[in-house]
Each structure stands twice: as C-alpha cells, then as structure tokens.
C-alpha cells in the first residue's frame, strides 16, 4: 500500500473587536434580536456609501505584526461578487491582490519538535449575515429568514501556507494563532459562537512526491476537536478513494460533526467565479512607517515572550509555561496568583492539575472559574508552609469550588487545623514506634528511608492534621 504525506493549510476568519461595523456605524455587538443592528448601509439600500472604520486597519496591522508579517503600505478594497442572501449587496467587500499583510509565520511545537508555519497573507473584509432555516437543515428548508446584524462586521482572514503535515500540527497552529489574537485583543476568539472560524485545505500525496494532491476545502470547523477529527476523516477518505483507483475532485466539503463525516457541498455555479474588481466607493488606504512603528511599539507581550518570561522569572518548566500561556485568561490568572503565592510551581501544579481537570469536566473556561487567584495562592501557601498536607489541600479545594472562600477560613470551619500540640503528637509517635518495630530497626541500621514510612503512619493516625515539621523533629528525637 502506498504511503501518503498529508498537506494542510488553514484559512482562519477572525471577527474584530471593533465597536462598530467595518463600513457603516451600526453596532458590531452580538444580539439575539434579528435585524436590530442594521442601517441602510449594511442593508444594501441604494444611495448609501461605505466609509472605512479606522480601527479595522489598526487591528489588522496589530494582528499582522504579531504573526511576523510585513505590513503593505498600499491597500485597496475589492468587490467579491456572489449571489447568496447573506449579503444584500450581492458582493462582499474584501481585499484580493493587495492584502494588508504578507509573509509572516507562527512557530509551533508538536511533541517537542519546533516547526515554523508560514502565514501567506492577512486581508480585511466584511462578515455576512445569518440565515435561519425553516427546516432542520439547509437542504430540507423551504425558506429561510435572513438576519443582517452580523453583515458588515469587520473580519480579518488569516491564510497559512500549506506547511502542516498532520492534524496535530494544524491544531497547534490554530491554538497558537488563537492565543496571539487573544493577547493582541483584536478578537474574542469564541469558536462556538463563530467569532473565530476555521476552514482547512487538505490534500494527500505519495510520500516523497513534490507535487501536491487535489485540494479539498473543509468548512464548518467550529472547535479544535472538529478540526482534528475532520482532517483525520478526510485524509482517510482521500486515501480510500485513491487506493480504490478513484480520482479526487477539487471541491468544498462541510464537516458534519454529529455523524463525524465530511459531505460534498454541491455548488450550482460550476466554477467559482467571483468577478473581483476594485470597489470604487472606497478610497485606497496608505499606511506609513510611523503608523506601523507606533502599533509595533504598542504590541502587548505575546504568548511566546510570556512563556519565556514565566520560565525565567519563576523557573517554570517549559511544559508548564506553554500550557499556562496558551490562553490569555489562564496566563492572567497565573500572574495574579503569583503576586501573593510563595510557590510559583505550586500554582502551576494546581492550574495544570486539579483546576484544568475541573474546568474540562464542567466545560467552562478559566474566566468563568469561581476560585479567585488570591484564594488559590493562599491554598498554595498553606501547603508550602506545612499547614495543610497535599491530601487535605485537595479537600479544601473541593470546598472552595462550592464557594470562593478563603482557604484559611475553610481550614477552621472544617476542623482541619493542624495539630501542634506536643502531647497529642507524642502519642501518635509512640504508637507508630510500637506498631512498627521493623521500621525502627531499619532506621537504626542506617536506612534513612524508614523514617518516611513512620512519618506517613503518624500523619495517617492524625488524619493528616499533625504538623509535619513537628512530627519529623519529635520522631527523630525519640529514635535517637
């Protein structure tokens, strides 16, 4: 059987966080009430003219610089003509041959291997409206209702080079891109709500070949999981077609998440024919060096820089740092917690361990997490100071999930306060010595490890509440 190489390129649409739409003054905020953020401009009525929102250019430059692009000085807008009710002008304002950003890159790391993925271009365009279908699916609907609230909202489309060779690489690229767009605050990156959307171009070629195979575009990938599953499915499907002696046709397919398959989207127009031409209603945009350099100077700390800082400033392992910086909210939570925490690695352990497990389980993000960074820091400190054993710390954490209370207060409330009473501890020590003569003999024979076992026994007897420092000290004294 022939071995194949997978070739993947991604096209990512990001809705910009502007207050108003790209070419009219309607609010760009999301609303559930149809056709309430509309005006004659975005409704395509005669006699209206588009005027570009300056913030769109600002955001596009910022995103471009953050992914190492060269900002193009001369920009123009083009009309992409198509007939579909989601835009009432019958064209979308976009940029064809003069995109604002060219030739960037994003570095990814998959299984410890660094790889650079090219960013071909970024261009500015407008979003389309939404169709609400009367039936269960588009093809079973006799009619649809069109809502133009989203029509005209500013988008950037970020097009990658076909540099990815596996679904995991595609996922890593999208994760890094998403983090960069979050850090630069140009997009809120909510994939489920559609403010960040991804299409994947997937093809396969025999291993060692230099010419790419037939490219299939997959649409409707609204989660990382969907991206990975769709690519894996599509690669397998393409292999089977070729192995059966079939031929692939260049087409657009849609991802059916419920059934885990890609489906061909039959296109009435035989070939894409968008009849692009310059939009004469919009004047060119010329970006000078001063503008570019100002935006560059104002760029916030980006994920890669933040990762390096966490490793240097707090001595975090690379793995920990990379997970913490992967979302802006997690990175901010960490930074807030380490302000008062006495053990940065301890904070990281909680975030990567129990906190992430809880968030995944609840299906929420850390921005919705009830436990405040200050309280998590306090919990870390109580463990660090030996007030709580790690076992009891987990117990306190479980209580904190119910209500964001100070762990110190919870320790009192739950009666988990450490036993520091010498008499009480001595009783546990004596019991443990009496019950474990072998360990005592081992210790006296020079096996230091035996003391660990005895300490464990004492802690167990005290239900984890004995002061570990005192236990150590008193046990050693007793055994001398």
């Amino acid at each position: 059987m022939t071995k194949y190489t997978t070739v993947i390129g991604l096209e990512v649409h990001a809705e910009l966080k502007t207050k108003s739409k790209a070419f009219c003054t309607c609010s760009a905020e999301f609303t559930n009430v149809p056709n309430t953020h509309v005006c004659p401009g975005c409704l395509g009525l005669p006699g209206t003219l588009p005027v570009l929102n300056k913030q769109v250019v600002e955001f596009a430059i910022r995103a471009g610089l953050a992914v190492n692009c060269e900002i193009q000085k001369y920009n123009k807008f083009d009309r992409k003509s198509y007939f579909y009710p989601d835009l009432c002008t019958n064209y979308q304002i976009s940029q064809l041959d003069k995109p604002i950003c060219l030739a960037g890159h994003i570095d990814i790391n998959v299984d410890g291997e660094e790889k650079r993925i090219g960013v071909t271009r970024i261009h500015m365009e407008q979003d389309a409206g939404k169709l609400v279908h009367s039936g269960a699916t588009i093809s079973t609907s006799d009619y649809s209702g069109v809502d133009y609230n989203r029509a005209g909202v500013a988008l950037i489309e970020i097009v990658s080079e076909p540099d990815m060779r596996s679904a995991e690489e595609a996922r890593a690229y999208l994760e890094n891109l998403k983090a960069i767009l979050e850090y630069t605050d140009v997009c809120d990156c909510k994939m489920q709500e559609g403010s960040l959307r991804c299409d994947a171009n997937v093809s396969i070629m025999p291993e060692g070949a230099t010419e790419f195979g037939t490219r299939i575009e997959i649409k409707n990938l609204n989660s990382f999981r969907a991206l990975v599953r769709a690519i894996d499915y599509e690669v397998q499907r393409q292999k089977e077609v070729l192995e059966d002696g079939g031929r692939l046709i260049q087409e657009t397919r849609t991802w059916d998440d419920a059934n885990g398959v890609t489906l061909s989207m039959r296109n009435k127009e035989t070939a894409e024919d968008y009849r692009y031409f310059p939009d004469a209603d919009l004047v060119p945009v010329i970006i000078d060096d001063a503008w570019i350099e100002r935006v560059r100077a104002e760029l916030p700390e980006l994920p890669a820089q933040r990762q390096a800082r966490l490793m240097e400033q707090f001595g975090l392992p690379k793995y920990d740092a990379s997970i913490i910086v992967s979302t802006k909210a997690m990175a901010e939570y960490f930074d807030e917690a380490v302000k008062t925490a006495k053990d940065a690695k301890g904070v990281s352990n909680w975030l990567l361990g129990d906190v992430s497990a809880y968030l995944n389980n609840e299906g929420i993000s850390i921005s919705e997490f009830k436990v405040s960074p200050a309280n998590l820091a306090e919990l870390v400190n109580l463990t660090k100071e030996g007030v709580l054993s790690s076992k009891l710390a987990k117990k306190v954490f479980t209580e904190m999930l119910k209500e964001d209370k100070s762990p110190k207060a919870l320790v009192k409330e739950l009666g988990l306060e450490q036993v520091s009473d010498e008499g009480a501890i001595m009783q546990f020590v004596e019991e443990a010595i009496a019950e474990n003569p072998q360990s005592v003999a081992d210790f006296k024979a020079g096996k230091d490890r035996a003391i660990g076992f005895l300490v464990g026994q004492i802690m167990k007897k005290s239900k984890g509440k004995a002061n570990p420092g005192m236990v150590q000290k008193m046990l050693k004294e007793k055994l001398q």
Binding site: N35, K54, Y143, G145, V146, D147, V283
Partner: protein, 95 residues
C-alpha cells in the same frame, strides 16, 4: 475576443439576468461592442504605467470606531416582501 451565445448565457447566469432568445442578437451586439473597446485598450503600451485602481488623489478616508443606533427591526423589514422570525424571508437556498 468574440462573445458567442454560450458566453452570453454564462454571463447571464452569473449575473442572474434572463436573455430572451429573440433578444440574443441584440445582446451579442452590445457585449461585442464592449469587448471590442477592451481590445482597443489592450493595444496601448502600458509597459511603464503604474496600475491605477483609483483615479482621484484621495486616500485614508476613515471614520472613528463609534457605534450609532441604526434603524429598528420594524423599519428594516418594512419593505420586505415577506418576513420569517424577524428576518427577511427568502426562498429555498439549496437545490
């Protein structure tokens, strides 16, 4: 380039225009006049001419990012031939 009936029908399809058979000859004449003129322009020497996309010396006409109340749903839908759930009702979009 000569515009044939096939090409005319393709243009008509893309632009959602119906060309009645009786009027095809008249359409072809119009189309070919436009194409002939384009052929004339193709003959010009543009070797050292910068591409022009906008002829007026204006650029960077921006507005600030301020949202302004648009029209109400009622006004937006006032002239719609049909309405469905607060949206413009459109016929089946997929064959």
């Amino acid at each position: 380039m000569k515009v044939t009936a096939d090409i005319a029908l393709r243009i008509a399809d893309l632009t959602k225009v119906i060309i009645p058979e009786a009027e095809m000859d008249a359409y072809l004449e119009h189309y070919n006049k436009v194409f002939d003129y384009a052929d004339e322009l193709q003959k010009l020497d543009t070797e050292n001419v910068e591409p022009t996309t906008y002829i007026l010396p204006i650029y960077n006409a921006f507005r600030e990012d301020v949202a302004v109340e648009g029209v109400t749903q009622e006004v937006a839908l006032k002239d719609a031939p049909a309405v469905y759930n607060g949206g413009f009702k459109v016929p089946r979009v997929m064959e």
